[in-house]
Symmetry: C2
Subunit: 234 residues, 2 copies
DNA sequence: CGGCTCTTTGACCTAGTTCAAAGCGCGTGG
DNA sequence: CCACGCGCTTTGAACTAGGTCAAAGAGCCG
């Protein structure tokens, strides 16, 4: 059961570099239930009554909301160690939908468990607060990126953020595969899929990276970092 | 001291409709310190060591970060009852700067106080989680708005969100004054100040609202709501 | 009154969207 | 094993929303 590991290579459950992994996940062995989900399966929908938060143990997932036009907008991607479902604390209804991008496992923490853990454990308190605070900071960076950066910068920042997340999880930071489609990425970073495609081909032509199918190899991390900032000379 | 009340009319400290007001602020009478700040004063800067979170009792404030170009980008506005400073939980350093927009008072909760309150009080736990979760949901809505909505929609949504916040605080939802500049607003909703100005004059010409200086009067709430959604007929 | 800051308005221009079509990898079924 | 269809991706060409630049109002304060 633990070995259902898809696209990505290593035993990601073991990885503990990610801040919130230790303090939340180690508590899970006894009473918390693991569950396995397949690609495209949905953990919760927008409007579902909030019952629990979850920590991703392996795989990956996307959070999305429905726009007025009826299409899906991606609000976040999640990797092992990440906590999902905290949007439900607000009004006890989930505001988003969570969909798995590949075979994944999660640990479930019911609202009651969270409350009692918060009461008992200082480690849990600081860990949950940090995780939520981290999301807030990430969201703010995203907002900044959307309002102040051009498409080239946003794409570069997105790739770099993935790279960072993989390295935090002790996976390669320069060679990884995307579990999401171009459409998902374009939605997340707020541009047309065609624009994303054009930027990616430009990066490949500049030998900054190569993408075959879903497999990304970053050839020139410094150049990519430069692209992520302001292009003064273009 | 309590009566230092600027631009906005009513005794805002008394307002308790806002969800997190009761459970956090009522605890403040005994041991927590009130502080008064003037317009343009700064509560904390990006990079400051995290020591406490604060609840705004009166007045208003803006959160901002510095862009690569050196100019300020507004990430959020705050009104009485709102909790600020939770960005510091992440890495124990504030990621943003908080600046007051008018004379304001805040209550301070040190990290230690928060931890002990979390351990002791179920009400406090749920209240803090809700407040943070609420911020997350708001950020996501903002992201959605930035990526999917045109300038007219974004401006309409911004005015409506202010209207909602004022009504939650038992102030008029159709007549209020802005404590922030056009530049702040434009930065927050991610457009050029000129675009914002044009949209506002368009709204005035359509008799949807009127703005004189900082004073906003919404004449046609339904029309404004219509503008906030997709303009199928334009 | 002069010098601020903030705001509005106009004219031009570009980054990125939209529309249309072709390419490509992959699974299925014959 | 190949052909077909399907989902995803790339590429091209035209269009436009909104940004940028420039300059003129309009409150405000010493």
């Amino acid at each position: 059961m633990e070995n259902v590991l898809p696209l990505r290579p290593n035993k990601i459950e073991r990885v503990s570099a990610y801040q919130s992994e230790d303090s939340i996940a180690t508590r899970s062995n006894t009473r918390n239930s693991h569950r396995i989900y397949q690609r495209k399966q949905v953990l919760y929908c927008a409007g579902d009554v909030f019952k629990a938060v979850y920590q991703l143990r392996s795989g990956s997932a996307k959070a999305s909301v429905c726009t007025v036009n009826g299409d899906e907008h991606i609000t976040d991607f999640f990797y092992p160690g990440d906590i999902v479902g905290v949007d439900g604390f607000d009004s006890f209804v989930h505001s988003q939908q969570l969909t798995f991008l590949e075979t994944s496992s999660v640990v479930c923490y019911t609202e009651r468990e969270i409350d009692s853990l918060l009461a008992k454990s200082e480690a849990f308190r600081s860990s949950l607060l940090r995780a939520m605070s981290h999301s807030l900071v990430r969201d703010q960076q995203m907002l900044l990126s959307l309002t102040n950066c051009c498409s080239v910068q946003r794409v570069a920042q997105f790739i770099l953020s993935l790279s960072k997340r993989f390295s935090e999880r002790r996976c390669s930071s320069v060679e990884f595969s995307l579990s999401m489609t171009r459409t998902d990425i374009a939605s997340y970073i707020g541009m047309a899929i065609e624009t994303l495609s054009r930027v990616l081909t430009a990066f490949q032509q500049a030998n900054i990276l190569s993408i075959k199918h879903r497999k990304v190899v970053i050839n020139d991390l410094d150049a990519l970092r430069a692209k992520a900032k302001v292009d003064l000379f273009l």
